[in-house]
Amino acid sequence: MAKKKEDILETAAKVAKKVAVKAAEAALDVAEAVLDKAAEVTEQVQAAAEEAYKEATTPVITPEMAKIPAGPLELKWTNYKNHQKLVNPANKRRLDIIVVGTGLAGASAAASLAEMGFNVLNFCIQDSPRRAHSIAAQGGINAAKNYQNDGDSVYRLYYDTIKGGDYRAREANVYRLAEVSNNIIDQCVAQGVPFAREYGGLLDNRSFGGAQVSRTFYAKGQTGQQLLLGAYSALSRQIGKGKVKMYTRYEMLDIVLIKDENGEQRARGIIARNLVTGRIERFFAHAVVVGSGGYGNTFFLSTNAMASNGSAAMQMYRHGALFANPCYAQIHPTCIPKHGDFQSKLTLMSESLRNDGRIWVPKKLEDAKRLQAGEIKGRDIPEEDRDYYLERRYPAFGNLVPRDVASRAAKERCDKGYGVNNTGLAVFLDFSEAIQRLGKDVVAQKYGNLFQMYEKIVDENPYENPMMIFPAIHYTMGGIWVDYELQTSVKGLFCIGEANFSDHGANRLGASALMQGLADGYFVLPYTIQNYLSDQIGVPRMSTDLPEFAAAEKAVQDKIDRLMAIQGKRSVDSIHKELGLIMWDFVGMGRTAEGLKEGIKKIDAIKKEFWTNVYIPGEANALNNELEKALRLADFIEIGRLMAVDALHREESCGGHFREEYQTPEGEALRQDDKFSYVGCWKYMGEDKEPQLIKEPLDYEFTERKTRNYKN
């Protein structure tokens, strides 16, 4: 019995030990898990703390700093004008203003400032101010005239613009833009701009993307040309009067800042290169206005003109002007597809074509394959086998959805294999239904010059076979940060037109670029610059022999010498094309964190290649196109990197910026209003140093933010 008891006790002890070990083991597991969890939480807390620290230490631009006037939205501009400071006529004569650029913004500003009595020095890189790239805008210009009695108003134009920009623009600026839009049309008509008219003699309108009213004024397919020639004629009048001194074939290569008596830096002039003689020259002014256009040519292939560049913007940036939202680039849905490596640019087909043209791809993959192989043409595919994908996805707006939406939808179809040309990167824009409905004559009258342009390039008749189109880089919404007065973060340095960031948010609506350029130049800057100049009337004209001018000129000369001395093996264009491909592949229509990081590495490699292996023939002190291109490319490389850095930091999709990680199940852009409702401004911290992020929060005071809906 005792033995049995011992046995039992022993067994019990063994069992107890086992249980105890198991329990201890389990306890250990739990403890480990707790520790793991604790570590994880600690990490999270740390990350959150870091984030919070970053958040707390990220400088913020307040509405006061941006000089947004107080008061209700519709009274802000009126209040501003009522209380701003002015310069009297006698003092205007004593003040010089440099205007760089002669596009819609530059020419209208130069002309208006000269009419008011200021002395203007105006610069352009082309042989005549009439050549600026605004001239190529085809479709039209928006204004809230409501001549069509279709329910338009200043508020509605404001609302469409702010919504079209995916709620990433300043409310006050956009409202002002809509407000002055009507003055622009009046001004242009008074100048003799031959807008299209109805038979009754009144002005005609058409519709553009992102709007449900017809508010677009147009002059055939040459609206940009006619508006620019209007501004150019006003400018010519002032040149004739001697109030504007015009410098053609001059390129600005730097801004000159001089400290005032309080030690504050102010823009006081520029360094420019005479492109014919190669001579570097100095120019003084009391204020500098830059309207140098966008930086779309970073991509090499774009709809921009060959000489369009972002160098002026980079010069401002390097002097402390903030670069805002560089990643917001517009990809225009209706361009003629790329057709070869030799290609120098992409040609835009006006958005107005989407009034009557219907966009489609085949429903069946086998039809797409046969189109790609060149076995059939678009007209061979029967109606029931066509997928009008914009009408299908967005019934309310159909073919007239905003540009970013239309571009992404085209990419989506082509990515799935439905592309219609040999590269698989094209969709159809079809007029057969419009020709049936309106007759060929009416279609020819409306779009004849565009059809001719298409036929000359592609060698195919768009009346008989649908046009082929594909998205291409067209416009940059991002640009130099400006306050409500269009002044940059550098005193006395103003930025207007496409070069600034101000009014379009993350996506620009069609026919709004012309509106903004002329609004800035005719009706905004000529007012706001006086608020700055009013306390400059005592500042005498300064000599360009001052050390600041000499130093700026020397820096420019050193940079040119450095470029000329490389004497490597590669042409400027070959490097630029390589940059363009990287931009399109990694910083293009669909961006990812991984791709952007890869892109930045590749851009850094390109920079190295450029600065060690570019070859520039000829002399620096003579006419030298290759040197001009090299100077621009040096800046494009920096802009490309800045675009990628900004796109990487903006972890959301909005407007023209589409991060593939942030989309709805239907593939629409997914904004993160709680985290990214701000203007991302970048401050230059030095060569090869990471720029610093500064935020201008966008608090929507007057408009409710919604998910953009073009479906119903």
Binding site: S112, E115, Q126, D127, S128, P129, R130, R131, H133, I135, A136, K145, I185, D186, Q187, C188, V189, A190, G192, P194, F195, A196, R197, G200, G201, A219, K220, Q222, Q225, Q226, L229, S233, A234, S236, R237, I239, M246, V276, A305, M306, A307, H339, G340, F342, Q343, S344, T347, M453, K456, I457, D459, Y522, F523, S571, S574, Y615, P617, L623, N625, E626
Partner: protein, 251 residues
Amino acid sequence: MDSYIDIKVRVWRQAGPKAQGHFETYELKHVFQGASFLEMIDILNEQLVAEHKDPVTYDHDCREGICGMCSMYVNGHPHGPDSAITTCQLHMRKFKDGETITVEPWRSRAFPVIKDLMVDRQAYDKIMQAGGFVSVNTGGVPDANAIPIPKPVADEAMDAASCIGCGACAAACKNGSAMLFVAAKVSQLALLPQGKIEAAARAKAMVAKMDELGFGNCTNTGACAAECPKSVSLANIARLNREFLCAKFQD
């Protein structure tokens, strides 16, 4: 169908305004006919840069036929053998395999050569500065619909206004006359009520400036309109003459 061609390009080379110019012939192999004429010049320039030679200097910008910057005389025609287009819209499918293509700058007294194919066209700007505008300042203008304009008149003004100021008309003219350019602007503004008020003064001022700058007289040959990339009509010259004569009678 577009294919590949081998060509010779005979290009005018001139180092500077006062230098002696000459033709230089370059061979280009395997040029795709879908390339534009200026893209062909780009290919030539890439080739020249690779050989460490001076690339051909020429004016170009928008490459979609609207800025008026490109200005080449191709095989004896301003903007080349095709009609109603600029040089940048000319494509290599207009040329045959083995062809020698001659490229020259605008040749006109008022457009001196700067280098190679680049000329100085500031004379056109100066004519515009003399009167190519309506004298209104920014602001304070009437509502855009205050003055109705008959559609046919507006359309005619638009056709005249489509001039891109490229200079092909003066370059094509045996007299080197700028009449079509001047007529286009005078017509556009004389047709519209906004410009009518100053029509007489404008016609006189612009014609006087044109004469002063060394452009020749018009002898109604019509080469200008035939070569105009925007098909600006000769009827505008008739209107200019009428405006000018009326203005003179008023004096």
